[in-house]
Symmetry: C2
Subunit: 430 residues, 2 copies
Amino acid sequence: MTVQECQQGLSRRSFLGWAGLGTTAVGAAALGATVGAKAAGSADPTAEAGAAYDFLGTHQSGITTPAQDRLHFAAFDLTTDRVSDVTRLLRDWSRAAQQLMFGSDVGTFGAMSGPYDAPPEDTGEAVGLPPSGLTLTFGFGPGLFRDAKGRDRFGVADQRPAALIDLPHFPGDNLDHGRSGGDLCVQACANDPQVAVHAVRNLARIAFGTAAIRWSQLGFGRTSSTSSSQTTPRNLFGFKDGTANIKAEEPIALDDHVWVGRSDQPAWMHGGSYLVARRIRMTIETWDRTSLREQEDIIGRAKGSGAPLSGGEEFTEPDFAAMGSGPNPLIRKDSHVALAHPSHPGNSRILRRGYNFVDGNDGLGRLEAGLFFLAYQRDIRTGFLPVQQALAASDPMNEYIQHVGSAAFAIPPGVTSPGGWVGESLFGSG
Amino acid sequence: MTVQECQQGLSRRSFLGWAGLGTTAVGAAALGATVGAKAAGSADPTAEAGAAYDFLGTHQSGITTPAQDRLHFAAFDLTTDRVSDVTRLLRDWSRAAQQLMFGSDVGTFGAMSGPYDAPPEDTGEAVGLPPSGLTLTFGFGPGLFRDAKGRDRFGVADQRPAALIDLPHFPGDNLDHGRSGGDLCVQACANDPQVAVHAVRNLARIAFGTAAIRWSQLGFGRTSSTSSSQTTPRNLFGFKDGTANIKAEEPIALDDHVWVGRSDQPAWMHGGSYLVARRIRMTIETWDRTSLREQEDIIGRAKGSGAPLSGGEEFTEPDFAAMGSGPNPLIRKDSHVALAHPSHPGNSRILRRGYNFVDGNDGLGRLEAGLFFLAYQRDIRTGFLPVQQALAASDPMNEYIQHVGSAAFAIPPGVTSPGGWVGESLFGSG
């Protein structure tokens, strides 16, 4: 709520709260207007501060939603053995997510509407900030189904999807256990990082006693577009990334490659997806000393325009058969674009939603920088797995990157009815 | 340059470069228009993507410039003993700063205008992004004047300002050597974090062989306003911060408390300032379990409105004599606002320019979160020192914070003539 509303003793929650909001599927534009769009005239309306997305929907938000500019991602360990704790947490998180995405605080803010001698329900740092296009996406890691000791803590071991595989060790992996795995995850994306951080912090607070943050990652700049209305951003190698990404405007491709379909098992995942998260450290200082020719040969695209080296412009399909003046094709067979392309044997399309990160520097004065890779797919076995097997085996980019964190999550379907909660299809009304 | 310009073989540098730009003191508004303002209609024109600040000026940018939303700060160790290396670096940095602040790339971008078999001069991740209000502020640490072994490497030991003190150990300090100190610093502030990161990365690249990053810090949200046109932001305790900050619209206060004056020594610092940087870890999980009453008593302000507990609204002056119904004043004598207030014995005003940070989490699942405190002052002995002595001795907030990094820098005056460079007043035309 705004300071004015606070001073007037009005809680946005009290008059625009859970029940009222749930009965109307308010579109982003209408809701944005309600809460006061700020940057009118901006080229990308989805990047406006006032933009708000609806929590209710067939699919969770934060997947095909136009990729916001900022990220806070957190993986949690469940610290309970009681399924009732887990379902209560998922109910609480769902309720809070609806409030946060609407731009409300979690609960009431304190002096004006809450008890003065209790801690405020909301931590307060987002008071006065608009919804900022916040999306919250919740996921279930392998540990929800069976913990590290093999125990079926919550009685859902037989519901683990086969598509949620334990990722194998890939050549070159140098994984940090403390930056990998997790029983639950929350992906918070927003146009304002303070809004994303506020959401994760308050969801972590709600989880106190049931789940604790295992690792978390901030991303400052998106490296993918998920809508054809967005320009293609650049990663920290300086190249446009995700040109061939699946976009929200491709419903058939989304059904084929991103959403779990009616023919897939288990049934509780219908309308969901699977997420692979990889923390990819880039040794940018070494990359920066590489010639432009070498950089472009490794990527397979022109650095300036993003066009494939076989010619055309950014969105021209690469022609892997086009030959140069010498004996080699214009796009190297082991270039990143060739190995990751859906036409490569065994590959299929995935929806990428990655973010650039810089977490200070290492002891050698090199920026601790890289790509926090996030990819959504219908089945990890046919999505990330074959692509990463091809890349790990022979991508010349491996000289400049190292995968240092890894996690996979089942992303349950969205909540379609007021009062519903994420995970209800798995745990029932329990 | 834009991709279009790149494809046309035009470099913005070549037709709007150093010489041409330097001859005109282009105002932010005019320059913003030139390079294509994006978010027309935004409430805060300085937050517009197209906003650009001039590198030339009596003072360096990034001090009274309206505080941008994002930060990348880097401290460097000089790895050379030759003064000529240092002055060349400062010249190169000054030239690059002018280009970066204008929204240009550093040097030329490569294929179209540079040698294809050399590394690109610019790293590329900001290609196509507008200037985004980038400011770059350069500073000199104690190590420039005398290194840790006491050597006068660059012949300027007798020019060290007395106002640039070595900060004493304060009660509660738990400083990490690896996050403290530095011979040089660069503060990059921008409305787009990718632009700030790009600037630090390319300046670090230019420094290769002469200086290496010692530590660096990203901040995602400003915690101070430096212009009365800005709303007061909130820190991660959820409180409005910096309400009483010195603002750009207070020229007398700036001359009294921020800018080094004509009567101050050494003369090369006239028009400069002194910066104290402190990395302050907040144990926000503990804070979040504290009652609203206790939080407000500690701060001395209302959490919602930011008004002092003696009454009024945010910008009402605190009345430290106002008594409550009991024997105590409404604002506790050891509250943060009382101890830090200019009316506290020995205190004077400083200009704060801090940022919220979250750097993942610690091993206990607590967010590695806090305030990256930046403060500019005319003399550290009368600015930060007495305030921090008072706070470290008795601020009840100390239960929730820990200072884990510390550094101080002399901020030389701005560059006023084309071809000039930061530090010229210290090193002469050398």
